[in-house]
Symmetry: C2
C-alpha cells in the first residue's frame, strides 16, 4: 500500500544511525539472535549533589574521549565489536571520523579472534556499509603514509559489504556480516 | 625480602576490586592476552553548558541503573561478560548486590555461547571467587522460591572457583576461569 509505505518511510526520517542500531539490537535480543549493546557515553564526574529524599544529581561532569568502540556483544558465539559512523559527505568516508585508539582497539579485538568493523551510513544517499577492520586498517595506514584521508565510495563498493534498511530488524547488519565469514 | 613484601601488601590496601580489575585488564591488553574493558557508568544527561573557548560542561545529569554487567570483552576468541561485586560480609554473598536485569543479561550471554560470571571479593577476609552463571542462577531461583537471600561461602567453596591476588596481573581471573572450561 503506497500510503503506508510513505508513512513508514516518513517515520524513519530523522532517525540517527544510533537510533536505528538500538532498535535493531533490541530486536536481536528479544528474538534470541544476539546480545549487543551500546556502551554508555564516558563522562568524567567532578561534582555530585546528594539532596535529601531525592536522587543524586551530577552538577559538574565532562565528556571523555572513548577509548574503545561504542558497540560490542556476542552473536552465535562470536565476539562482535564495532563503531557506528554517519557522514553527510556522499563520495567518501572521511577518516577523521575515527580515532587512532579506536583503530588500535579494533586491531586488538581482531588479534583475539573477534570480528571488528565500522558501520558507515551516508545520510544523503541513505547507503549503509559494513567496513571490515582490514579495510579500515589499510585506509588508515595509507593516510599515515601521506595518502588520501578518506575511503572513496567506489572502494567501499568493492571491499566493504553494503546492506539496506528494512523493517524487522530495521538494520539487519548481522545478516550482512555473514559475508565476512561469520554465520 | 620481608620489608618489600610488607610494602607491596600495604600499597594494595584500600584498592577496590574495580581498581584491581582495571590494572589486571591493562596488563592483559598490553600483553596481548585479552581485550576486556569496564563500561562507563551510565548517566542520563539533562543539561549541558557550552562555554565559548572551553569544553562542554554537563550541569545536570543522573545516574541510571545499568542494564547489563560492567565488564566484557574477548579472551582467546571467547566472549567474556562479568560483573564485579565487593561485600563486607564474610560468611555469604548477599544477592541484593545483583539486579534482576543483570541476571537476565548473563543468561542471554550464556545462551549465545558466551562465558558469564561474577567476581566476588570478600573484603574482610580478602577472598576472591569466580561465580559461574549457573551458580548465580541456581541461587537466584532459590531466593525467588522463598529460599535464602545469599550464597554461603561454603557453597562458593564447593561450586565457585577461588583465586588469589598476585603481582602481574594483580588478579589473574582469566587464569582462574580456565577451570570453567575456557582455555
Ligand atoms: Mg560512534
Ligand atoms: Mg559492578
Amino acid at each position: 500500500v503506497k500510503s503506508a509505505k510513505k508513512d513508514y518511510s516518513f517515520s524513519n526520517r530523522g532517525k540517527t544511525l544510533e537510533d536505528e542500531l538500538d532498535e535493531s539490537n533490541a530486536y536481536y535480543l528479544a528474538n534470541g539472535i544476539a546480545v549487543i549493546h551500546k556502551k554508555p557515553v564516558p563522562v568524567q564526574i567532578v561534582k555530585v549533589d546528594y539532596p535529601s529524599r531525592s536522587a543524586a544529581v551530577i552538577r559538574e561532569a565532562y565528556f571523555k574521549t572513548p577509548s574503545t568502540t561504542d558497540y560490542n556483544g556476542i552473536y552465535h558465539g562470536h565476539h562482535i565489536d564495532f563503531d557506528a559512523k554517519e557522514t553527510g559527505i556522499s563520495s567518501s568516508f572521511p577518516l577523521k571520523n575515527i580515532h587512532e585508539h579506536q583503530v588500535e582497539h579494533m586491531r586488538s579485538v581482531t588479534d583475539q579472534g573477534g570480528t571488528a568493523f565500522l558501520i558507515v551510513k551516508f545520510t544523503e544517499t541513505e547507503r549503509y556499509f559494513i567496513v571490515p577492520f582490514d579495510l579500515v586498517d589499510r585506509a588508515w595506514k595509507r593516510m599515515k603514509e601521506g595518502g588520501r584521508k578518506s575511503i572513496p565510495v567506489a572502494e567501499l563498493e568493492e571491499d566493504a559489504v553494503e546492506f539496506h534498511a528494512g523493517f524487522r530488524p530495521r538494520l539487519d547488519y548481522l545478516g550482512a556480516i555473514a559475508k565476512l565469514g561469520i554465520s
